[in-house]
Structures are given as C-alpha cells and as structure tokens.
C-alpha cells in the first residue's frame, strides 16, 4: 500500500510534467514501433486540445496506414476514399465554414491517386489544413514504390531500386502546392529527433492558428520513416531519413504569410 500512496503523491497535478492528451483515445495504435505516424498524431491531438478545438474539429482520414485515425482521436472524423480527402474536406468546410477541418494523408494517397484533389483544393484556396506524411513508400499494402520514393531506393515494386528513367522522379508535392496562390502557409518538417518533433509541433500549431484566419490552404508535410518496409530498426530508419530523405526533401517553411496568427 505504501507504493500506491507513493504513486498518488507523484500524480498530484502540481507534480505532473507530462500527460497524454485527452484527444488521443486509449485504443492501441496500429502503427509499427518507431513509426512517425504515432508522433505526428500526438502532435496534432495536443494542438487541438491546447487550442480548445475538439468541438470545432472535423477530420478526414485517408486510405493507407492512417486509415484508422478515427480510432485514435476523440474527434468527429470521416474516412475518405483513397486520395479524395481534400475533396471531402472541401465540402465540409464550405458547408460548415466556422469549423476547423483537416485532412491527414500519406504520400500514396496525396501525391499519387489524389494528385488532382490535392492540387485543386490548394488552388481554390480551401480553408483547410492538409497534413502530408511522406515516408517514400506505400506502408499498409506492404512496401510498394510511392510517388515520393527516392531515386535508387528499393521497394517491393522497385526491387532493383527506383530507376528514374523507367519509373519517373520523386514528386515534390509540397513544392508544387507552395507555388499556388491558394496556399497560405506551406512547410516541411520531420519527427525523427526530439528537436524536430518540437519544431514540427511549432509549425503545425502555426498552421492551425493560420487556419482560423480563413486565408487559404495550410499544408504541412512531415517527412517520416517506415522501419518495417524500409527493413530497418527505428534508429536506423531515422538515420537513413536524415542522410537520404532530407537531402531530397529539405526541411523548413516553403511559404510563409506576412500576417501573424491572431
């Protein structure tokens, strides 16, 4: 019993330095150990809690590893068809203009099958937040080549490495949408080190706050890892990400508005 009293003492509110955000449910995450999805989920959920947006938020989950996002966040969420999240979110925001609407999409969803929806939603300047997880591979279906797979990178459908002459070059969707007048804030971040997690949270928080201004699409790319399909340990994958992914997908803001969030 002495031990239990000890825990009670420790969990006194004044002693708490960290706790799980209430926006994350207690459901077991379906992500592989070390995957950047879990971290990115937590960042987004924390921001929604901190900004007091739970009752204002409608999320749209994609087809891909994060299809079950709706199991992990205590929010109203719609699960969209593959690649169509920006179209789905467009209608939600147009019909409920006071709400905060986000999509959460992987690279296959956003940069391959959903290219048209992504570009046109950004080009119309839909007042939504698009979160783009780029790990250079199709995770859920077992490691096929993605539009973002690096040149020479091996996958189950590029077993000898991505030959750009045959298979095309990796698509930099974030760079493309940054050129469109409809986007307001466009940034590329990563979650592979604690320092980068903090930077991503700062950037995403800015994006959420900018979103309230209704001045255009906010777009946050998170360069992420896929230990299972990259066939690496989580630590190796983070190293590989830093050495390879970030050379092709450099981090930082691609488009920043002049005005500061309210």
């Amino acid at each position: 019993m002495a031990e239990a009293t000890g825990i009670k003492e420790i969990i006194k509110p004044e002693n708490l330095v960290y706790c799980k955000t209430k926006i994350m449910t207690d459901n077991v995450l379906s992500y592989c150990p070390g995957c950047g999805h879990s971290t990115t989920h937590r960042i987004l959920a924390e921001i929604i809690e901190e900004e007091g947006l739970q009752s204002e938020t409608i999320g749209v989950s994609p087809v891909g590893c994060s299809v079950f996002l709706y199991n992990f966040m205590d929010l109203d969420i719609q699960e969209a068809a593959h690649g169509r999240a920006p179209a789905v979110a467009t209608a939600i925001k147009r019909l409920l203009p006071e709400k905060f609407v986000f999509t959460y999409q992987g690279d296959g969803d956003l940069a391959a099958i959903g290219t048209a929806e992504t570009i046109h939603a950004c080009n119309r300047g839909e007042n939504i937040l698009i979160i783009f997880i780029n790990n250079g591979i199709y995770g859920m279906t077992g490691g096929q080549m993605a539009p973002t797979t690096l040149p020479g990178m091996r996958s189950s459908t590029s077993p000898y490495g991505r030959d750009v002459k045959q298979m095309g070059n990796p698509l930099k969707m974030t760079d493309i949408v940054a050129t469109l007048p409809g986007t307001y804030y466009v940034t590329r971040q990563s979650v592979h080190t604690p320092a980068n997690v903090r930077k991503t949270k700062k950037a995403m928080k800015k994006a959420v706050q900018y979103q309230k201004l209704n001045k255009g699409t906010c777009f946050v790319e998170v360069v992420s890892n896929c230990p299972s399909n990259w066939k690496m340990t989580p630590t190796e994958s983070n190293k590989w990400l830093e050495d390879n992914m970030l050379k092709y997908y450099p981090l930082g803001d691609l488009k920043t508005p002049q005005e500061q969030p309210a």
């Binding site: 009752s55 709706y70 109203d76 699960e79 169509r84 209608a91 019909l95 929806e117």
Partner: protein, 356 residues
C-alpha cells in the same frame, strides 16, 4: 405561398427545385446533356439567398466525394451528371452507400458504352438499379417521365434518402433533361436546421465522437453490417414502390416502360386501342424498388408483356423475374440515342401477338 407555373427545361427544373427544396450543397462537373443544371444554379446564385453552396469540382470523382463530405455533415447535398460521368462517380457512390449517407445523384442518361453519344438513352438501368459500384448495395432510383416530375422528385428523393440513410438517384435521360414543358414549382422551403445524431459536426462534450466510414476489417462485423443493409433494402421494397397504370384494368397486352419510353408507350396504347387491341401500360416510377408484385399480379391477367426501353434490354430482366415464366415477356427498344416512335412499338407488339 402558392405554386408557381413556369416553362422550363428538365435540367433547369431540377436546379430550381433543388434551391426550393432547401438543398445545402450542389457539387458538379460539366457534361452534356445535363450541364444546364450547374449553369442554372451558378446564375441563380442561391448562396446569396438560401445559403446553398454551389461548387464546380475538378472532376466527377471530386464532385461525388464532396457529396460524401457534405452528406456526412448531415446536409442535403447533391450532384448531377450524365452516363460517363456517373461511371466515374461509382467509387464514391459505393462509399456513400457503405457509410449509409443520404444524398441525391441525378443521371441524365446518354447513349453508351464509352463516350457513346450525347443523345438520350436508357442504357444505365443496370448500373442504377443493381448497385453500380463495388459491393452489395442499392440506390433508391426514381424515374421521372416529365419536366414536372424532374422538379417533384428532387424533394421526394431527399425525403427518401434521409428516411433510409441511403443515396437516392433520379434516373432521367437526355430527352427529359433537354425538353421544355410547363412545370408547377413548389414554394421554397427553408434549409433544414436539424442536425442528424450521426453527423460529423465537431464533437461536443455531450456526446460520443461520430465516425463516418465504410471500413470494417472484421469479417463477422462486416457481415452483420451487410445483413443490416439487406434488411434496409427489404424495407424499402416493402414501403416505397411507386408506379402508374394506364388502361391496365381490361388490358390483354401490357407494355412496361419508364421515363421517355413511357411517354411514347402511352401514345402506342391509344393507337393500339384504336385498332381494337386492348393494350395497357405499367410505368414504374421507382426502378428500385421495382414494382415486381404488381407486375406479377398483372401477369395472371394479360397474355404477354413487352418491356420498351431505349436499351438492348435491361429492365426486361426484372419484368421476367416478376412474371416468373407465367406468360411470354419480350423486349423492344432503339439504341444509340434514338427515341422509339409510338408506331414502332405498335408494330412490334402486333408482331409479338401474331408470333405468340
């Protein structure tokens, strides 16, 4: 307020009726022969008056997914297109059916397959009534035969869609979409402020989160859901069959036709009667649910049935299923965008009578 009389194209009637029915959102993409729907809405600019959102999407695919997003917020949302565009929407329609969302899809049918023709046809009957996209599902399908019904069925389709949480389709064709007739328009209704309990509008502390999805990886749970859909479709079959009879009481020969073909067949029945042949017409108004029970009853009283469609013979299969071998059932129809003439139907029925 009283009803208002106007002379309008079928496509325009759909658009005006949508505004008056308190529609919250329309999402479309241009395609002949239905582009007037979105053109009319853009010119009317209902956002200024009723708050109705009208948006031209980048594709039919995007448009139907906008319908998904809007419907999942509990809103009255719709799209319209024509055959090739409706094919593109099928993935989204399947998701809408799988997520049990109410909405209205208008198909102003043109001839196919492929790019086909821009002229009227009824060759999308299978696609409309048997599902259309992947998986086991049905739409509620209404078949207007006049510009008046184009207008009237908008509100009816929304009413049924919300009653059953199921997508509804108005299956029209290029002839009814393009022709002008007088139409009595209902007084405008205000947009509904009611939010269905399942809608995603942002989770307040007072309720559980709402999730809109068509995914269930557990086969047992998925089968239970499929069974729930089957039960819903059975209920729709039981309660929502609509049809119209024309001189069926003493008929020896029955024409079965919907939409434009039904208009043609009404004339054919008069021509046949003038020649002493007792013909009648059954016009299904709902294609799903199909008036199978009534056709089965009539099969006990008439000598043969002729399904007249602007297709290679699609609805005729449902007529045959309803008749269940009791009497001969035939098909007659023109294709490729050609509207059958009343005389052709007369001659065809007479050849079947002699042949029989």
């Amino acid at each position: 307020m009283e009803k208002e009389l106007r002379l309008m194209k079928g496509n325009e009637a759909i658009a005006e009726a949508a505004i008056r029915a308190g529609t919250d959102g329309y999402f479309g993409y241009p395609i002949t022969p239905q582009s007037e729907v979105m053109e009319y809405l853009m010119e009317a600019n209902p956002y200024k008056t009723t708050g109705m959102v009208v948006l031209q999407a980048e594709s039919e695919v995007a448009a139907i997914n906008m319908v998904y997003g809007g419907a999942a917020c509990g809103k009255r949302v719709m799209t319209s297109s024509s055959s090739p565009g409706i094919s593109l929407k099928q993935e989204g329609i399947s998701y809408i059916a799988g997520a049990e969302l109410p909405c209205l899809i208008v198909n102003v049918v043109r001839g196919g397959p492929g790019l086909g023709t821009i002229q009227p046809a009824q060759s999308d009957y299978f696609q409309a009534t048997k599902g259309g996209g992947h998986g086991d599902y049905h739409l509620i399908v209404l078949a207007p035969a006049s510009v008046q019904e184009m207008a009237d069925f908008v509100d009816l389709a929304f009413e049924l869609a919300f009653k059953y949480r199921n997508p509804a389709m108005i299956l029209s064709d290029g002839a009814i979409g393009q022709m002008m007739e007088k139409v009595w328009l209902s007084p405008p209704k205000e947009r509904s402020k009611t939010v269905p309990g399942w809608a995603t509008t942002g989770k307040p502390p007072t309720r559980q989160r709402n999730i809109i999805t068509s995914l269930d990886l557990d086969p047992n749970a998925q089968e239970i859901f499929n069974q729930k859909l089957v039960a819903k479709y059975d209920k729709i079959r039981e309660n929502e069959v609509r049809y119209e009879e024309f001189l069926c009481k003493d008929a020896d020969y029955l024409l079965v036709a919907y939409g434009t073909s039904a208009r043609v067949c009404q004339k054919s029945v008069q021509l046949l009667r003038a020649q002493g042949i007792k013909a009648g017409l059954l016009r299904p108004i709902t294609l799903f649910p199909f008036p199978s029970k009534r056709i089965c009853e009539l099969a006990g009283r008439v000598k043969l049935m002729l399904s007249v469609e602007m297709s290679a013979g699609q609805m005729v299969e449902d007529v045959m299923l309803a008749v269940n071998g009791k009497i001969p059932v035939y098909h007659f129809g023109r294709m490729g965008g050609i509207v059958t003439s009343p005389d052709e139907v007369v001659e065809n029925l007479k050849s079947k009578i002699i042949g029989g």
